[in-house]
């Protein structure tokens, strides 16, 4: 392992937040090329399944995380229960915030078709979204947090899956329309 790789590993170990390559360049006083190479070596060393710690690119930088294989032991040691999975309502509200941010509370409710108070509040309490101001009409406006990126393993918001893949296809639309019409015809019979 090169000296520079070792230093990079130490810096990632110490920093509570993800560290960008630019920050590594400044701290190590090496060139960007050298840092990139050192990161590459470290990435190989800390690939999944090799050690207890893995290198990850999340929240706009590099960071270390424990290998998922040790999750159960870690939760026993830290007496930390597993966070509950997202409910359907929470996942939907989060998807809307993630893709449309900044987005207001009423907008979330409008798209979901139902009031989303409790889902939004839970997401905020879990630190996945946060208020980023108020709209002209006084409604709370939300955006996702850095924690969101970390917990979803995203190196940045541009790493969210391409939204066009979720667009309903023309077949979807036809199917939905037919379903609505068919429901009507059944009634008419």
């Amino acid at each position: 392992m090169s000296d520079l790789s070792r230093t990079v590993e130490a810096l990632l170990f110490l920093s509570a937040q993800p560290v960008t390559v630019a920050e590594l360049v400044e701290a190590t006083e090496a060139t960007e090329g050298q840092v990139a190479e050192a990161v590459e070596l470290l990435r190989e060393d800390l690939a999944e399944g090799k050690r207890g710690v893995v290198l990850r690119e999340v929240g706009g930088g590099l960071t270390l995380a424990s290998d998922p294989a040790s999750e159960d032991a870690a939760r026993r040691l830290l007496a930390k229960p597993r966070t509950p999975p997202l409910t359907q309502a929470q996942a939907e509200a989060l998807a809307i915030v993630a893709y449309l941010q900044p987005v207001s509370r009423p907008e979330i409710a409008r798209i979901r078709g139902v009031s989303s108070e409790s889902a939004v509040q839970t997401l905020a309490e879990r630190g996945l979204i946060e208020e980023s101001g108020r709209s002209r009409f006084g409604a709370a406006i939300f955006k996702t947090t850095e924690l969101f990126e970390r917990l979803f393993g995203l190196s940045g918001l541009d790493q969210l899956p391409d939204p066009s893949q979720f667009d309903p296809t023309p077949e979807d639309e036809r199917e939905l329309r037919e379903r609505l019409l068919k429901a009507g015809e059944q009634r008419a019979e």
Binding site: F13, L14, A16, V54, R56, T63, L64, A65, S66, D67, P68, A69, E71, A74, R82, T83, P85, L86, T87, Q88, A89, A91, E92, L94, A95, I96, A98, Y99, I111, R112, G113, V114, S115, E117, S118, A119, R150, L151, F152, G153, P161, P163, F166, D167, P168, D172, E173, L176, R177, R179, L180, L181, A183, G184, R187, A188
Partner: protein, 254 residues
């Protein structure tokens, strides 16, 4: 289970709840004929079978049923012709379709995000303080960037005791049954009266439930009313005396 999938078996409709919404919007089923009470009963029965109340789903249900109630009460109230035509069935379908398509987009994105969250839950991050010698460095390099008043005002917000939540409206005394009785008693005393004169002293919720009671009696052909202009006085008029008194009310859900 999503509310949309709640299986209904009503007099005029059998199928999932979302389909009912669709056909109601298309006016294939007249909302006037739908016993909303039956839907509530179906939902409550489902809850009993299921054993646990999922707050999200319950909220969704309440929002939908409230929307239906509002729609139904609008249909029951006499309205100017042009307003009745404001949204043609085709428009309603297009509007509904557009909304469903938009919602579908985000519900798919939600699935992907939920899966991703699940897959990422095993990775844990270190949150340990810096070793003492390095902490020293950060302290030395720190200069004032935050305003202490930020803390004072945050504390002030926390000291503010929220207003007492007014729960008078959920006292169990406002039942549809009782408002029906009150309404019939009022109609028994005189064949015609002014709503505000008779019930204006009641709180908002009691008044609202009384209006629902009026809708129920309208359905039974016992009462009608007139209101010349929005927010104007409501003249309530008896059509025929209720047969047999207390029985036979309550939304026809039996």
């Amino acid at each position: 289970m999503a509310v949309a999938e709640l299986d209904l078996d009503l007099d005029v409709f059998a199928g999932p709840f979302d389909l009912l919404l669709a056909v109601v919007l298309r006016e294939e089923v007249s909302l006037l004929e739908v016993q909303l009470g039956e839907i509530v009963v179906a939902y409550v029965e489902y809850l009993e079978g299921e054993g646990d109340l999922e707050l999200e789903v319950a909220t969704e249900f309440l929002v939908l049923i409230a929307a239906l109630l509002e729609l139904k009460s609008r249909l029951l109230l006499p309205a100017p012709e042009e307003e009745m035509e404001a949204m043609a069935p085709e428009e309603a379908v297009e509007e509904l379709l557009a909304r469903m398509l938009e919602y579908r987009r985000y519900s798919r994105a939600a699935e992907v995000l939920a899966d991703r969250f699940e897959a990422e839950r095993g990775y844990l991050y270190r949150s340990a303080p810096l070793p003492a010698e390095l902490r020293r460095v950060a302290v030395d390099a720190a200069s004032a960037v935050y305003d202490p008043d930020l803390l004072g005002s945050a504390l002030g917000d926390l000291l503010t005791e929220p207003e007492e939540v007014d729960i008078s409206h959920i006292r169990p005394t406002v039942s549809l049954q009782r408002r029906l009785t009150a309404l019939r008693e009022a109609l028994g005393r005189r064949p015609e009266f002014d709503f505000d004169e008779e019930f204006g002293g009641e709180d908002r919720l009691t008044q609202a439930v009384t209006v629902f009671a009026m809708l129920e009696l309208y359905r039974k052909g016992e009462v009608t009313w007139e209101q010349d202009r929005p927010l104007g006085p409501i003249r309530v008029r008896r059509l025929r005396v209720a047969g047999g008194g207390a029985g036979g009310v309550g939304g026809g859900s039996s």
